[in-house]
């Protein structure tokens, strides 16, 4: 079973966001594999352990993105592809991914359901469309049998069970698995594994961004609110009164 895992390098979840020259300042920030993509890497490795085959990870990014791919290799992925295309929008990123894997055959393409930085949640689905594959989004349980995937997918107020033939694109949600840490042996082996870099020219892709970011800004500082003093019962009564009479929300 051959599996492709799409991953993105993001800031650590605890990173403090600051601006420099009107842009997000990336200096001094610790980078990680987007946590949802890490679930995808783990799921691919588990499926490989059960069924054999190969796990290839791919990312569209910059030189620095190598670190995230190396980490996936250290977790146990076999090969990695870096498409060097910084600052591409969602449409262009999906085009680049599709072009980079042209001619390769996969039974399954996995990714996170969203990246925690831009929170866009578009790439994997756009890729499914680009490759003319079905998709199952926000999956918390996955079973593969007889060339079919049976997925439990989170929706508002419940779950859907979706069945689809392979190959398919599946996006992963927390709850699917617990990602492993790379072992020391894994880290050593990762250094020798193949990490192929492809530039845009080599890819033969000309595509312009279709979304333009006009401005990045930080949220306004909220003014300190009202702290209600007094005994617990008394304060609770006063709070409920304020919610009703001042804020008018209950």
């Amino acid at each position: 079973m051959n599996i492709l895992v799409c991953l993105k390098q993001t800031f650590d979840t605890e990173a403090k966001i600051e601006l420099k020259d009107g842009k997000i300042n990336a200096q001094g920030i610790k980078n990680i594999i987007n946590p949802y993509d890490e679930f995808a890497v783990e799921e691919a490795l588990k499926l490989k352990e059960a069924n054999g085959g190969e796990v290839t990870t791919i990312s569209v990014g910059s030189d620095q993105t190598q670190e995230a791919l190396r980490q996936a290799l250290a977790m146990g992925a076999d090969k990695a592809i870096l498409v060097e295309f910084p600052n591409s929008d969602e449409h262009a990123t999906a085009k680049a991914l599709a072009k980079a894997v042209q001619g390769m055959e996969f039974d399954l393409i996995l990714g996170g359901h969203v990246a925690i930085d831009d929170n866009s949640g578009q790439i994997a689905i756009r890729l499914a469309e680009e490759l003319d594959l079905p998709q199952v989004n926000v999956v918390t349980k996955l079973e593969i049998n007889d060339g079919k995937a049976v997925c439990t997918r989170e929706i508002e107020g419940g779950v859907q069970i979706v069945e689809t033939p392979l190959p398919t694109v599946i996006t992963c949600q927390k709850g699917l698995n617990e990602p492993r840490y790379p072992s020391l042996k894994g880290i050593m082996q990762a250094k020798k594994k193949e990490l192929k870099r492809i530039g845009l020219e080599e890819l033969g892709l000309t595509v312009d961004n279709k979304v333009e970011i006009l401005e990045v800004f930080l949220p306004p500082q909220k003014e300190a609110g009202k702290v209600i003093e007094g005994e617990a019962e008394e304060a609770a009564g006063e709070l409920v009164r304020l919610l009703k009479e001042e804020a008018k929300v209950i």
Binding site: T13, E14, Q135, V138, E163, A236, V240, L242, L243, V249
Partner: protein
Amino acid sequence: MAIWVIAEQQDGILKKVSLEILSKGQELAEELGFELETVLLGEDVSELADTLAAYGASKVYVADDEELAVYGSEAYSQVIASLIEENEPEAVFFGHTALGKDLAPRVAQKVETGMVSDITDAEVEDDQLVFTRPIYAGKAFTKSKVLSTPVMATFRPNVQNMSDADDGASANIEEVDVELENIRAKVIDVRKQSGGRVLLTEADIIVSGGRGMKGPENYPVIEELADALGAAVGASRASVDAGWRPHSDQVGQTGKTVSPTLYIACGISGAIQHLAGMSSSKYIVAINKDEEANIFNIADYGIANDLFKVVPAMTEAVKKYKNE
């Protein structure tokens, strides 16, 4: 020239977010001199067109077919993409819901256009639509525009104000021929979660519990307040990771993003990753024993005291008000 809103319904009930987008869409359409139109998909859904008209739609494309009874990304995206190619709207809006998140990117790639996800505001600048959206889970925001047509965006639920319904309004109905091909992914079962409470992402009021709840056995304390208020119950990552609550209740960067009118945080310290999921709430209340807790920095009202004393007293006070 038209702005389209993809109307979302489940079991024959329109989602509130669709009416919120229509309300905002009215403003935008008026400013741009565009029509406001909707697309409605499902089975036996035509009667919902009246409600869409009441919220400003001048035309409703109705795709009514048994194959559309349950949402599927392939079927729905085929219908919408061919309607877009035929009618060339200037903009197409979706709710940022389970359905919208799954459907909109597929449609966008089919019609080769750009899309802005999870927007919290839309305005017209120099005759163009400009969208505001949170990034890094609300630690920063961007304003952006789409350079291709149609302009596509998904709207965060519970953020836009609803306009008043004009019950006398009517819309032109255009029935759409549904032709589908090569549908592979199929929904074979839907399981609703038990419990009659409102959905987290749609709730007007949320009562949320964190590490300070001390254990799963104590959640009835906040559930009782939630029931008195008609609220949903949320949880912080700490309490989900501890196994006290299911992940579907988690609010935060690796959980749900919510923007209720009122968010009551009980025993939640206010880690950055939690604030990310709820900081766009209109009013925030913090109840925490630790008066230094970060949550107080963004709370509109705070009580630095024992939640096990404060919350039951709030429940009593709310019940008293409701009985008056």
